[in-house]
């Protein structure tokens, strides 16, 4: 309760501001229309009009809510008009990309922690890789991948993997380097092998870091997938939905897809948080 109250208050404030903004931004159009029709609007009519336009500059919250409701519950889940269907398409590519990205991040981190050559060679380029505007060349990447026979869900996944491997890499390198000199020395005094030290010391101590970075990575993966869908052949997925909404000026559809995507991201982050809690608890790391 004490946690919900502040959030609800801020939420209420945001919705209020949103309504005001919607009235302000949509007023011009309402007035233009009235002028074209040769009528004038009373303030009441004006407000009512701004909150119920078909193509508002900024849709009112209740319009977005209605759009979401219709998208989620208004159709069969398998329908192409269902947001759940599109979210499902996006989710599957996100999960694939997230899995590839996290795995790559973890493996690279293991290499970097254990091999000095890799540490010095790879790390600066991993940073540089993130300055490549992958999102800007996403369509090209998809075409190029298609030319070597990678099609379907995978090209989108590659883009989301590109975005999600980096946080995992950075987090995992920090995590695997977490054990202090004393703990490593203990291992050495027991003459433990490298793999024993890894499985019994480095890996467990990196868990909190791993989960923290997985949360960042999954959100990044979702952004990657959506961008992969966005300009690169609108077929299905939330990105395609955003694009077609944008293409036909259907702002309500854009905002619904946007909120669906945010909810998906939030859901994924919460899910990882849950897995984190369970794992850390079973490891005895949560108190």
């Amino acid at each position: 309760m004490t946690r919900a109250l502040p959030v609800l208050t801020v939420l209420a404030a945001i919705i209020l501001v949103w309504y005001l903004a919607a009235i302000g931004m949509n007023a011009q159009w309402a007035q233009d229309q009235a002028a074209r029709a040769g009528t004038t609007l009373t303030t009441g009519q004006l407000i009512a009009d701004t909150l119920s336009q078909d193509r508002p500059v900024l849709p009112a919250p209740h319009q977005v809510a209605a759009g979401l409701w219709d998208g989620i519950f208004g159709q069969a889940i398998t329908s192409k008009r269902s947001l759940v269907y599109h979210a499902g398409v996006t989710l599957s590519a996100t999960m694939a990309g997230f899995a590839i990205g996290s795995l790559a991040g973890i493996l690279l981190a293991v290499g970097i922690v254990h091999d000095r050559t890799m540490d010095q060679s790879v790390m600066p380029w991993a940073v540089a890789s993130q300055t490549v505007p992958i999102l800007a060349i996403a369509p090209m990447v998809i075409v190029v991948l298609a030319s070597i026979g990678v099609t379907g869900l995978l090209p989108k996944a590659v883009i989301s993997a590109w975005l999600s491997f980096f946080p995992v890499l950075v987090g995992m390198v920090a995590g695997l380097r977490q054990p202090d000199a004393m703990q490593l020395d203990l291992m050495r005094s027991w003459n433990a092998s490298r793999s024993q030290s890894f499985w019994r010391l480095r890996l467990p101590s990196s868990m909190p870091y791993l989960f923290a970075s997985l949360k960042v990575a999954v959100a990044a993966a979702l952004v990657g997938t959506i961008v992969g869908e966005l300009p690169a052949g609108a077929t299905s997925g939330l990105g395609a939905r955003l694009l077609s909404g944008s293409y036909y000026g259907q702002t309500v559809q854009i905002w619904s897809a946007l909120f669906m995507a945010a909810a998906l991201a939030a859901g994924l982050v919460v899910l990882i948080g849950l897995i984190e809690r369970i794992t850390l608890k079973r490891m005895g790391l949560a108190r």
Binding site: W29, Q33, R36, R55, V57, S79, K80, R81, S82, Y85, H86, A138, P139, M140, I142, V143, V144, A146, S147, T151, P231, A232, G233, A234, T235, S236, A240, R241, L243, S244, G245, S246, Y247, Y248, G249, Q250, Q253
Partner: protein
Amino acid sequence: ADDLTLQLKWVTQAQFAGYYVAKDKGFYEEEDLNVTIKPGGPDIAPTQVLAGGGADVTVEWMPAALAAREKGLPLVNIAQPFKSSGMMLTCLKESGITDPKTDFKGKTLGVWFFGNEYPFLSWMNHLELPTEGGPDGVTVLKQGFNVDPLLQKQAACISTMTYNEFGQVLDAGIAEADLVTFKYEDQGVATLEDGLYTLQENLDNPEMVDKLTRFVRASMKGWKYAEENPEEAAEIVLENDETGAQTIEHQTRMMTEVAKLTAGSNGALDEADYQRTVDTLLSGGSDPVISKAPEGAWTHAITDAALQ
């Protein structure tokens, strides 16, 4: 059946109704073809997909195809289902533009890029208007996915297609009386749109030529069917749209408009149209779209065989 992949220039919509109808009505099957239709998108370059081997045939506008040819990608036009151009510039009447020759100066115009800018650039060249902005030229705005720049009055004019964006402008509540339109056809700078292109190497392969012939034959059958049954065609398109964003009213109207553009074509490229397109593109002043007349950029071999 023989497999064949067609890359569209844009998203699934009635602009490509002929192909969807041919597929849906079994015209491709009748020709023993198994055709995969890949929708495009705002940032898919169909020519690049072709180069990458992602498709065998693509729907593309001729200026872009010829430009790609100059870049070393040997594209060849094998059929031209669209006889005339649907492109136009739509202006708000309140901008005071009545004559392109005099009134564009100092205005902001919305233009599609990504290979679609060539006709516009040629036109401006004809008008001798620089496109770098300033009081004596026009300011060009890269128009995004929709007609917002006009509705928001960010531009005096925007690019529209007769069959699509123009309708969107009307849908948005602006009356036709409040608009002024300039068709590229009327301005004498029309270029050919929506032709079928393939790589030269495919035409050197008799087996492939046969496949393409059957494909063009079935596609044209689809187009003619769509012209006659616009409502059914629109429904077929709708069924094939995976985004679930299209509406039947919209697609029906688009089909009706598209039918006007395809009406004059039996699929074979009209040499005169080709020549006019090339001339328009070549006349590009200091920065022409293509620098010399292309050789072998089209063939009648396929259509001749297909239309016997």
